[in-house]
Every structure is written in C-alpha cells, then in structure tokens.
Symmetry: C2
C-alpha cells in the first residue's frame, strides 16, 4: 500500500461510486491514448502503472503524471473547454484499466452526487501538486529542483521499506529528467552525488530515498521550505 | 467580457447553483487569506481582481493565479488532504467576494449535483493550464517562456481591443516575473525587445499583445507548438 493509497482511506472514494466497466489490458509500452486520438474517457488504473506525458512536435517531453492502482487519469481532456493537448498516456508496465465516457460519468454524478465530491477532492489534490511543481520549477536551481522532485515522486509512488527509506520503483534517469525539466546527464550526476552523501541509495530496479538526509541536503542548499514536513510531503498523485 | 467569460457561456456554470452569501469588500492590497490562516473557504470574485501567490520563508514567490469576476479560488485548501501551503490571496484592486465553507458547498453539491459537475469542469481547466505552465517552465528558455507566459496571461485576463490586440491591464513587470519564474530585469529587457519587434505595445496601465506577431516570434525561437492555435489559446484562468 503506497502513501498515496493510505492517504485516500479517509476521504470520499470515487471507486465506491463508479459502476464497473469492462477491463482493458495493456502490455508494457502500449500507448493508451495520444494527442491524435484525444482522450475522451476517464480512466481508472486497476493494476500496473501509467505515465502521462506532454510533448511537442520538437520532441521535447515532460512527465506530467504517474498513475498507480486506484488512480485516475484522462479527466482534463474530458471536461476542459479547450482543444486537447499533446498528451500521451503509456502503460509503464503490464496494466489493467477501466474507463468511462464523459456522458457515463456525468450521468452517474447526477444520480450520485458524492461521486462528484470525490472527483473534486482528487482534482484539488492534483492542482496542489501541480502548483508545487510550478513553484519548484520557478524558483529552484537544478540541484535543489531534483531533490524536491525526488520527494514529490516519493509522495506519488513511493513505498515504505523496513529500513525507513521510501522506495521508488521503475524510474529511469530519463524519466526523472522528464519529470524535473532537466537532462538525463544532470540527473545521473546529481543522483551519484546524493548517493555519496547517503541521501539516497539505488539499485537497478529502484531508488531508496532517505528523507531526513535529503531534507538536510535541501537545507544546505538554502531551501528549508521544501523539506519534508514543510508542506510538501504525503501528497497524492498529480 | 473577457475571453475567459465568453468561454464559460457554453458550460455548466457554478454561479447558477451556488446560493448567495454575504458580500465581503476588500481594498487594493488587502490580504484575503495567508498561510497563517489556511484558506478553508471557496471564494467567488464578484468584482475586482485577486492574485494568489505561493511563497516560501526565503521570500521567493510565484504568482499562481489571477482571478477575475466569476472566477473561483481557495478550493485546493478546502478539499486537499495535505496540510495547507504557503499561499496568499491579495486583492489586486478594489474587490468584492462571496465565500462558502466546505460544509456549505458539499451540502449544496449533494442537493444539486450539477454544481459538482460545474466545479469539476473548472478544476479540469485549471489543471490543464497548470500543466501547460509546467511544460513551458520545463522545456523553454527564458525568452520563449516569457512570450508563452504573456499568451497564457492573455487567455486568463486579456480583453480584446478594437484594433485586434489583446489587452492585459494592471500587470507590473514584477508580477509578470512572478508568473514566469524569472526576474523583473529580464522581463523589462524582453518586453522592450518585443515592443521593438511590434509584437507588443505598452503604456503605463496596460500591455497590448499582438498575437500574430508574438506567434511569429515564437516560431523564430523554434517553439511553434506554443503558438496560438497550437492548443495554448483561449484557456480559462488557472
């Protein structure tokens, strides 16, 4: 159970309200939707992991969202008044999804308004995390930005280990770069540095965050307000 | 009528559903809420303008949101599971607001689920704009980033002029810097450059955007996917 799932336990839960739909299965690397086929469904992850990217025709891309079981995606394409963006959703691993059209979700909300409340809570948390990313991107230099990104990813998809670390699975250096708005080379260099400082540990398949040591490094970088406990921790997925 | 207001005409409108509350008045510069007093109300702007900032104890700040009449703010503090952030909402001019507690809004949504739908649409548009800001902050150099920020601000608060320009009122160079994640000096330098190129015009109280010329400058900077018509225009306020 991730932090994200634990957090949700106390709130309105969209899962209780949405009627079951057919289950669609995707293999690792499968594209669930892309800009050419604008997303017009609300998706729920049952198992696996989905990554949502924003890319432009110049080939630049940013990792917007990592969605784990019980998480939603696709909603902004459904309800935004604007034309769809260049978003791509990819199965990061073997993944099972349920999905609904906007008409189906709207009809269910009108029948059962607490589904609306549950989605509002989800969206508010998403906005909060997006705003924190904007703040970090706007004011932080690369080094601190990467540390804050690791903490944010820890809140999104981290699992507690027995040793008290927070484990991030399945993130390549390129993916972390896509999330952080920096290059893979910088990510590799900075992760090596953080490993030497014992702020993180890593193996092929995961990165372990030692949050106290990371926080102390962030203070060294003059960014105490981004430390765990200062309002950035235990946030749900964006 | 701003673009923002025009866009809304076709959608579910929260205003139709929310019961009237008392009207609170604020003078220019008044703080509506700040981090010390976490926002626990949903606010609706009746007249004037509100600016929402995220700041840290080091004094760095980012302009998150500019809210004009018929726009909402404060909702993320109400429904997020996380502790409140360092957000400050300030009246940018003489402003009138209505506001509701989360209990009041939730009770109204349960009675009238289309209010829930209307808020979901608002929040989805907000997420879309926030994601575009993240993309711009992640991949664009300063010069292109400022041009994209001007276009985004144009969608948020711009007014059409008779000459076909989009007018931004009441934005200082510092405010634009706070929105863009850059310094006031860079904003001033780049605005001067854009004025020489006739991509913008400005007087003391406003900046006029000439969108075609701005788009052509963005193409010159190698960023055609950020041009108006490429998915970034006519978006509602974030």
């Amino acid at each position: 159970m991730s932090m994200n799932q634990r957090l949700r336990a106390n709130r309105h839960d969209p899962l209780h309200h949405l009627q079951k739909s057919q289950i669609a299965k995707f293999a690792k690397g499968d594209v669930i939707y892309e800009s050419a086929s604008p997303e017009t469904r609300l998706y729920l992850v049952l198992s696996g992991r989905v990554q949502v990217f924003h890319s432009d025709n110049g080939g630049q891309r940013v990792l917007l969202q990592i969605v784990e079981p019980e998480g939603f995606f696709g909603e902004t394409g459904m309800w935004g008044a604007a034309p769809p963006l260049s978003h791509t959703a990819v199965a990061a691993t073997q993944t099972e999804l349920m999905s609904w059209t906007s008409q189906e979700v709207e009809a269910q909300i009108l029948r059962e308004p607490s589904l609306g409340l549950a989605l509002i809570e989800e969206l508010c948390e998403r906005c909060t995390l997006l705003r924190e990313r904007i703040f970090a991107l706007s004011v932080l230099p690369n080094r601190a930005r990467l540390m804050v990104a690791l903490l944010q990813l820890g809140d999104m998809i981290g699992e507690d280990t027995e040793t008290g670390a927070v484990r991030l699975r399945g993130l390549t250096h390129q993916l972390i770069a896509d999330y952080t708005g920096t290059s893979r080379e910088i990510v590799t260099m900075e992760l090596n540095r953080l490993r030497r400082l014992s702020a993180i540990g890593y193996a092929r398949a995961y990165i372990d965050l030692h949050k106290d040591a990371l926080a102390s490094e962030l203070r060294n970088e003059g960014q105490p307000s981004f430390c765990p406990g200062a309002g950035l921790t235990h946030r749900a997925a964006g």
